[in-house]
């Protein structure tokens, strides 16, 4: 799926406050098969942009086209992993995944549904905890269940909002590998949009890194290509000649953004 974002603007209005401009004219085209990471300070609108692509939030103006068609609403072709996991609290982890698969893939046979549920719950090491409810597992486990749910519906595009944020380093790197495998393989999943706070994670996974910024430039600041050949390996990737340059560029951008913010705060 090609995702074309054109001139997307979004402000949030709250009663008693001036409108808060979160996205000011975002232009971005993501080609089919691309893996794009989004990075930026907290509150700069990464989740908002992802939600707009997902169809959960309406942009004030501008368009989002998926394969040329304007986004009409959410759907399982753009499955999301929400930042706050968003599991249904009354259902077991298995039920959470299962219901999502059943509902979004009504044409799948029971056996296929069961197979996908088991495959992805196993992939995130939750099969033995499948009968626990979200309230009975740790934050990291809930997050893995949310990842399994999104993978299991075989979406063409995955929208991931800090999907590995609550995980320990080991689990995270295993899931990163699984994510790349899923995306790389013959599966339906072609395109991945992933919000992350980890610079290393972004460089390890993405073809392109989109750097977003806060006010006074609430938009896409730059996009940085990651020309490191795949398969990538977290230990060898750091020796690639491009690695240090990219990392420095990212850090500089984030610090610059931070400085602007601090200056704003001081002026206010």
């Amino acid at each position: 799926m090609t995702i074309a974002i054109n001139g997307v603007r979004k402000s949030f209005r709250r009663r008693g406050h001036a409108p808060q401009e979160v996205l000011r004219g975002v232009d971005l085209t993501i080609d089919s098969g691309e893996f794009v990471s989004f990075i930026g300070h907290s509150g700069c609108g990464k989740s908002t942009l992802l939600n707009i692509v997902g169809g959960l939030v309406k942009a004030d103006s501008g368009t989002v086209r998926v394969d040329g068609q304007p986004v009409a609403g959410p759907g399982p072709d753009r499955a999301m992993v929400f930042q706050n996991y968003s599991l249904l609290p009354w259902l077991s982890l298995r039920q959470n995944v299962r219901v999502a698969v059943q509902e979004s893939r009504p044409d799948w046979k029971r056996a296929r549904v069961d197979e996908m549920v088991e495959r992805y719950l196993t992939a995130v090491s939750l099969w033995e905890h499948r009968n626990k409810r979200p309230g009975q597992v740790s934050g990291g486990m809930a997050q893995r269940a949310a990842v399994a749910r999104a993978f299991a519906v075989a979406p063409r595009t995955l929208l991931l909002d800090e999907p590995f944020g609550a995980l320990d380093a080991l689990t995270r790197s295993r899931l990163q590998q699984q994510l790349v495998d899923l995306w790389d393989s013959e599966s339906e999943t072609e395109t991945v949009l992933m919000v992350t706070h980890g610079l290393d994670e972004a460089i390890l996974l993405a073809d392109r890194i989109v750097v977003m910024a806060n006010l006074p430039y609430p938009s896409v600041r730059t996009t940085i290509d990651v020309p490191i050949p795949r398969p990538r390996n977290r230990t060898t990737i750091v020796h690639h000649p491009a690695y240090d340059g990219i990392q420095k560029q990212l850090v500089d951008l984030l610090i610059a953004d931070n400085d602007v913010e601090l200056a704003e705060a001081a002026a206010a």
Partner: protein, 334 residues
């Protein structure tokens, strides 16, 4: 370990700073295991302490933290229960004494002893049934039947309609003004209309209970179904939940606690209103019994039935409360 081994001198100064009794007694509870050092604090501190924290101190002396804290919890709960029960008895005793005092010398208004005797009398043959008189048990049964019928009907309609109202915005907008206008109307005001239409007092009474029970159930259900957390709605949207899955996995579980609250309110008001309806409608039921006793100037029976009505109402509410405890999910996060 560290906290308990703390020397009194290390702990004592803290007690000096927190002079208020609330502060000192809060410390051991908040500090959990570490708070075991608190006995020293309290020993050095003021003497005014709650029963629960006194138990803490005694058991902590035995020095087996894990079991002792559990025992302490159990013990202090038992202790506070006993204390509460004692106070309940005191309250009742004072009330009865005042009642006795107020009705002394009166022949018409019954005192507690007369009323208790009458109650025992009524309960001794609850189901007798002659052509012009019935036992109190039968009247109770008749009233309960009416309440359950009206309540059940109201639950069916109220929950269904409430879920639709909560889930579908236009339906909410269409019905809400109507509901808001009709809700404050005393359900008894409808009685003449039903009586005229149905021409059957017993059924009219059921309809009145239905109306009574409908509003709280409807409004609470709609409120619960209308307040689905945004992230759950998003999940349903992204994964294209079909109506049945949305109903079953999102709408009902979220609305359930408020549905039960609505049912509880409905039952409470229904049980109150039935007495009034039966007074108007007049041939059976506890309301009729009350009115009939008044007409025969047997106020002792009225008082006895008041006690019965109260107890039955309490039991009904307790049943629904149990239901609500049962359906309310434990701590939920994520």
């Amino acid at each position: 370990m560290t906290a308990r081994d703390a020397t009194p001198s290390a702990v004592a100064p803290a007690a000096d700073h927190s002079s208020g009794p609330t502060l000192t007694s809060a410390a051991p509870a908040d500090g959990a295991g570490g708070g075991i050092g608190a006995p020293t604090t309290s020993a050095a501190g003021s003497g005014s302490r709650s029963a629960a924290s006194t138990a803490d101190i005694e058991v902590a002396g035995h020095r087996s933290p894990a079991t002792s804290s559990r025992l302490t919890a159990l013990g202090s709960r038992l202790a506070s229960f006993v204390v509460a029960a004692l106070w309940a008895v005191v309250g009742l005793a004072v009330f009865v004494a005042l009642w006795q005092f107020a009705t002394r010398g009166s022949t018409a208004v019954p005192g507690p002893l007369d009323s208790a005797r009458t109650l025992g009398d009524l309960l001794s043959r609850p189901f007798f049934n002659t052509t012009n008189d019935k036992g109190i048990g039968l009247h109770l049964y008749i009233s309960l039947r009416r309440v359950f019928l009206g309540f059940g009907l109201a639950a069916l309609v109220g929950i269904t309609l409430g879920l639709i109202m909560g889930a579908v915005r236009p339906v909410w907008s269409a019905l809400n003004p109507l509901v808001q206008v009709l809700r404050p109307v005393s359900p008894l005001a409808w009685f003449p209309i039903w009586l005229y239409i149905i021409e059957e007092p017993a059924q009219s009474a059921v309809i009145v209970i239905f109306i009574t029970a409908l509003w709280p159930t409807l409004i609470n259900t709609a409120a619960g179904a209308g307040a689905i957390p945004r992230d759950q709605r998003n999940v349903a949207l992204v994964f294209k939940f079909r109506p049945l899955a949305y109903l079953w996995h999102v709408l009902i579980p979220n609305a359930l606690p408020s549905i039960i609250t609505g049912l509880r309110l409905s039952m409470g008001i229904g049980w109150m209103v039935i007495v009034a309806v039966e007074m108007l409608q007049g041939n059976s039921g506890i309301g009729y019994f009350v009115w009939n006793s008044y007409n025969a100037l047997e106020l002792d029976k009225v008082v006895a039935v008041i006690v019965l009505i109260g107890v039955v109402g309490l039991v009904l509410d307790a049943i629904l409360l149990m239901l609500s405890r049962w359906v309310t999910p434990e701590e939920v996060h994520g």
